[in-house]
């Protein structure tokens, strides 16, 4: 595709769909084009992570995944819209506009990498860096009808990622096809001394092994929108026709994933967000001539959004003396237990298969009626692999009234290439739809 068409699509994605919060002026025709979620730092761009508190912060360094894509011949064309610090499922908690779903602009792109999902969907050949903590790549990939890979925790360096929950955050990719994802995943993966948690990984194999046996936890099939259930069952039928063994299993412990996830994620987030206090970087409009406690309280009260405040309160509560062992420490144990449950399943099956989201992309008016707990509940299928740090991929698997439905495959740690292998095979049997956009 010519740079001028890409350029027009990029403008369209920015102006009509609000996928970008910032873009370059000129596209370099000689390079491949990629975007980065706004919580990844890049020289020359603001990095605001969807928050007003980071207004004007231009980091002096590139995040490692961005650096690596640039070194591989890529041009960073823009930063994509997101929920503030990744706190959300629909990208409505953003201080810089809400991205609109390319299939239907009255609907959400999903979140928190909503802008990345929309950009990947709208621009052919585009690869979008996303970040997942509890499902922030799978969700938008599902609602925007693209492929979304969340790698194993520790596979891709987090240097330059503005933290949400450090023990959960993973940098991954969204694009229209598995082959695009595969190509760039190889570039961004690998150890980086600037992120010690990336240094214990095994080498990425050249090629994965196609999983021939998948497990579906029956618990994942409850509470689904009937349309999603139907679309998913059709996809399962298609997989069986392709010769893949699919077996329903029971995984009752899945229900512990959500509370454990929210406790760990908010505990970590509440410490990560402590640094935003109107000093050293970001927004600082408060009167300086006052006690420090009043100063930073003022900055934070004005600049954090409601969801950020909710998660800071929740996380701080969970860390308090007396609650720590009841919540935080117990959640660490739940994470370990779930890893073991998955491992047991992986002794007999190569991957766990579920729908990605329990419903199709909701309308904004529906979202505005949802309570926080209902919103959290929408992530019940994407949270378990995120909590356990296991790689997962979301693929379009059916369409209802022209809107995409996604399925999610989870494999054991470090087996991303198996997932990509499966995705390629799937793409040979199932054609993805892309929305028609008028330039």
């Amino acid at each position: 595709m010519s740079a001028s068409v890409t350029s027009s699509l990029m403008r369209l994605a920015q102006q009509r769909y609000r996928a970008f919060v910032e873009t370059v002026d000129h596209l370099d025709d000689a390079k491949f084009h990629f975007s980065a979620k706004d919580n990844l730092c890049a020289v020359g761009f603001q990095a605001r992570a969807g928050s007003a508190i980071l207004e004007g912060y231009v980091p002096p360094f590139d995040a490692t995944p961005i650096r690596r894509l640039k070194d591989a011949g890529g041009q960073l064309i823009g930063k994509t819209t997101m929920d503030e610090f990744g706190f959300g499922t629909f990208s409505v908690n953003s201080a810089h506009g809400v991205p609109l779903n390319p299939f239907d602009i009255t609907r959400s792109c999903g979140g928190s990498s909503g802008g990345a999902g929309a950009a990947a969907c709208l621009i052919p050949g585009h690869v979008a860096l996303g970040v997942s903590t509890g499902g922030s790549i799978s969700g938008p990939a599902c609602f925007c009808g693209v492929v979304g890979l969340s790698p194993t925790y520790g596979r891709v360096s987090r240097y330059g990622l503005i933290d949400y929950g450090n023990s959960l955050d993973k940098v991954g990719l969204l694009a229209r096809s598995a082959s695009l994802v595969r190509e760039h995943f190889r570039t961004i993966a690998g150890p980086d001394p600037k992120d010690p948690t990336s240094c214990a990984q095994p080498t990425l194999p050249d090629k994965g092994r196609r999983p021939d046996s998948l497990a579906i936890p029956t618990e994942a099939l409850t509470n689904l929108d009937p349309a999603v259930r139907k679309g998913f069952q059709e996809a399962v039928g298609r997989l069986k026709d392709m010769g893949v063994q699919v077996k329903e299993i029971s995984m009752p412990s899945l229900r512990f994933a959500m509370p454990a996830y929210y406790i760990l994620a908010t505990s970590e987030a509440s410490t990560n967000l402590a640094r935003y206090c109107g000093m050293r970087f970001g927004r600082r409009e408060e009167e300086l001539n006052q006690h420090f406690n009043d100063f930073f309280t003022g900055v934070r009260s004005v600049s954090f959004g409601d969801e950020a405040k909710r998660r800071i309160l929740l996380g701080t509560y969970c860390r308090m003396v007396g609650f720590r062992s009841r919540y935080y420490l117990k959640s660490l144990a739940v994470r370990q237990m779930l890893i073991e449950k998955y491992r047991k399943i992986f002794q007999e099956h190569q991957a766990v298969l579920t729908p990605t989201m329990p419903f199709i992309a909701p309308r904004f008016e529906e979202i505005s009626r949802m309570k926080p707990l209902e919103m959290y509940g929408a992530d019940f299928l994407t949270i378990p692999p995120n909590l356990t740090g296991m790689p997962h991929i979301s693929l379009p698997c059916a369409y209802v009234d022209g809107l995409p439905i996604g399925m999610q495959l989870v494999s054991d740690h470090w087996h991303e290439m198996d997932l990509l292998e499966m995705a390629s095979v799937w793409e040979g049997a199932f054609e993805y739809h892309h929305p028609e956009v008028r330039l």
Partner: protein
Amino acid sequence: MKIGLEMHFQLPTRSKLFCSCPTSSAAPNHNVCPVCLGYPGSRPSLNRKALEIGVSIARFMNCKMEEKVWFSRKTYFYPDLVKNFQITQYESPLGTDGHFEVNGRRIGIWRVHLEEDPGRIKRVGRSGEEIAFVDYNRSGIPLVEIVTAPDLTSPEEARDFIDQLIIELRSLCGLEAQDEQSIRVDANISMGQERVEVKNVQGLKNLERALRFESVRQSKLLAADKKVVRETRRYDEERKVTMPARDKETEEDYGYIGEPDLGEYRIGEMARSLDLKETPLARARRLVSAHGVNETTAKQLVLTSSSLTDLFEELCRVVPPEKAVTWTMGPISSNWSALQRPELWPELASIVRADADGSLTDNEAKRRILSLAGVKQEEAGPESSDLIMIIVEYVEAHPEVLADYRKNPKAANMVIGHVMKESKGRHSSKEVVEEVKKELDKRV
């Protein structure tokens, strides 16, 4: 009286604990980078050298060593703390349950752990119109925190404890020359049931004063049948009193969680394989127990020079220790710069042995040692060194005189009288008095 200490020492590394910024001094905010400024997106990576030094200190303090350790976040808001949390070790210190001996008493060590230093706040301008500047050069400087059990029983002992600890750590790991004024200490002190924490006292002199003030204050309260309130106090250096701290830091809940960016470090093997060298005071204790040298002499010897002590130990193999002391602390020590070359030591040893078995007179032995040192005999004044020999011999044989002298300088008269008698008027009384005082002061 029960006193417990919490001390922080800067580790002698070239770079900071979690980034590669230098630890040397620089203009304000020049030794900084995104990591030690806590910029969003930056993250820490551990300085291995700092971990190694921390582990060697924990082992030196006879701690039970952990197999694996991790770091924690201690969250509180303060302008000098870039992330508004400090990376420290909470559940998993490097070592616990150790001990350190001071003046023959064993003091318990509760824990030894690593943490990062915050920046420094500097206030300028008139009170009420102050402007606060923050310098982040110190942000991320590696510190080791050592926490003692409340085993110390007096302000003097607390001071001796730190004094001696610094001597040992300096030699163990090249700890920066932390002068007495710069060290910061938190101290717990209780005269009865309830303890009071005096936070952030700077300098050993202030620590001793703060503890003394606090012990008097608490004793008075208890004598009047009043209660000591458990609280955090600070020491006012100008008024020389402790006062309740404005912000109740101890009441705060730091909400510790693990630091997920750093993972776990297996230090068991490192701790076992470290070869700790013998520290000066430990060596002094060994000299006392192995050679029966008196404690003061042993300390003076090891603190003078470790190579002089090496020679002393060599001499001990050929002559009785008291002879070795006399010669080492006498003419050899006085000419040490010339005699420290090890190739001269065999000759020194044979002179000293010849003196001990009677084949040389003291004077002849002395003359040979001085000539070995290249000292011209006429100028050297054999009489004066003869005088020193008499003094040293007497002081060595009568350690109680030295102990007396510490409290009462008049104890010197004992020595002076003895020397006048021994030297049979060969020296003027002025000379004798001066030399005795010089020798005694050297040892106190």
